[in-house]
């Protein structure tokens, strides 16, 4: 009987190991949970069903196993190599794949949208015979189509970066540079400028776009309200750096105010006084 028992020892040890681990796991759960929630909150859900077709089994396990950032990086490098070949369908697929895998880096969204809006129309026009052969109307149509794709893609990005001024700026630039739509571009710049993370130039460009539309009164009001908010001297105590002062360009804004005042023929005594 004795040796039968000792033969069962490995089983007994295995059972003990599993039991102790399970009890530990259950006991430690309340201690672990806050940390796990913290980690979880930083990780957007993986929409695996939309990815599975494009990825192999191993890559999927890698994604689930916590290697999202590096898998996305790999695919971004791949995106760049198909981009160099002007391969439109592949580039478009990889751009979307990268942000589906890891939507957190803004960099992917910005650069993906630029490829779609600025490079792909070129490729299409070249493919259809070049700028000289393709009629202007057709070129315009292609620009509009690609811009639409880019804008849709950028709007999707707000789901992950709701407060990103740079995304609004990206949208504004597509309207401005590709669609020559000053009204929509201005609106996007205004939204960007309203966000705390906005670069100083967003507010300045908004005013410029208002002026281009002939909305001088609005531009004047905007600039007058903007000027006092701009840093003029570096102050380390307040966290104002020399670089910020330089990029805020308060003197330039004042120049613009004077220009608008001239355009609006504002009397000397009613002019803006900083």
């Amino acid at each position: 009987m004795k040796f039968n028992l000792s033969a069962l020892r490995p089983l007994w040890t295995g059972l003990l190991v599993v039991t102790v681990l399970a009890v530990t796991g259950a006991a430690i759960r309340p201690f672990e949970d806050p940390a796990w929630q913290f980690v979880r909150a930083k990780q957007p859900a993986l929409k695996l069903d939309s990815l599975q077709g494009a990825l192999g089994q191993g890559v999927t396990v890698g994604l689930l196993g916590g290697f999202r950032a590096i898998v996305a990086d790999f695919f971004w490098i791949k995106t760049n190599s198909v981009w160099e070949d002007n391969d439109l369908p592949a580039t478009q697929t990889f751009i979307k794949l990268v942000t589906a895998i890891d939507p957190r880096p803004l960099y992917f969204w910005q650069n993906g949208a630029r490829m779609i809006a600025y490079d792909m129309p070129n490729w299409r026009i070249v493919k259809e015979g070049g700028y000289d052969a393709v009629p202007q109307a057709r070129q315009r149509h292609i620009d509009e189509e690609q811009s639409e794709v880019a804008l849709k893609y950028l709007r999707e990005a707000f789901g992950h970066h709701p407060n990103s001024a740079l995304l609004h700026i990206e949208i504004a630039n597509v309207y401005l540079n590709r669609l020559k739509d000053n009204v929509s571009a201005a609106e996007a710049y205004r939204k960007a400028a309203a966000l705390p993370s906005a670069p100083y130039y967003a507010a300045r460009i908004y005013a410029e776009l208002l002026r281009r539309q002939g909305r001088h009164q609005e531009a004047y009001a905007w600039l007058k309200q903007l000027y006092p908010t701009l840093p003029q001297v570096a102050d380390p105590a307040k966290g104002i750096t020399e670089f910020q002062v330089q990029s805020a360009m308060a003197p330039v804004v004042l120049d613009r105010i004077r220009e608008v005042e001239a355009e609006l023929k504002v009397p000397e005594n009613k002019r803006f006084r900083p």
Binding site: R9, P10, T13, G14, L16, V17, V18, V20, L21, A22, V23, T24, G25, A26, I28, R29, F31, E32, P34, A35, W36, F38, V39, K42, Q43, V61, L64, G65, G66, F67, R68, A69, I70, D73, I77, N80, R104, P105, Y107, P199, T241, F243, Q244, S247
Partner: protein, 288 residues
Amino acid sequence: MNTAFPFPLAGRPVPFSPGRLGIVAGNTFLEAVRQKLFNFLLLLAVALVASAQLFREFNFGSSELKFISDFGFGAMVFFGSTLTIAATAQLFFSEIENRTALTILAKPIWRTEFIFGKFLGVFAVVGVFCALTTLLLLALLYQRETALMNANPEAFEHGRIIHYGDLVLMGVLQWLKFGVLAAITLLIASFSNTNLYTVVMGFFVLVICHLQYLARDAYGQVASLPLRLLVRMLGYVFPNFQVFNLADQIGIGEGIDPGIFLRVAGYALIYIAVIGGLAVYSFRNREI
């Protein structure tokens, strides 16, 4: 040979000795270091530097730093896991296969001291690995960030974008995770017969620990009760390795909360103690 030793006679209690544990740990560390470990580290360092150079080709701008940090930590996680499992299994089975375990366990030493000594030796080896790779990564990032800052100041409006302190904390967390992994490998080794089996099982458990959160998530969605209990059990039996990825976008973006960091570190240490204890229990029954 006539030195008289005032030696304790048989029957005098032999208390657990951190000193002996340290001697075993030191010897284990020395064995690893005098083997090919440092070649491995050197290779990794070269690979890291080379891959960092590669990203320059793409002209990613300030995002190059993200790529360097992602790939650097990816390499650290991958090679570190491999090193941990392989070194633990190798350093354990070299004792068994070369019968040095016989010689050492025939001395007045507790098996607890032996097992935890082995653990600490491996933990130190992996610690050196983590420290070196983290330092190398920090140096690479700092050097590239400085270069990029000079080339493109607009992208660094608010100063440096890399949180170097967080990178160090992440290195520490990976080290602790490898500690849990080493304890798991030692537990497997304590009852397994071959090095290969231990390594294969070690990797298997590593993958499960990385995916165990899926079982936790799936718990509510499983309909049948027995399967549900099994899923719940899986979630409890295996430690959650995902919790160590406190900053997935490493060193960039939001910082690491010190409270959460300490919590995760505590989580690792508790697991090391429990799994190490189980390894000791299993090893005490092992017939050498």
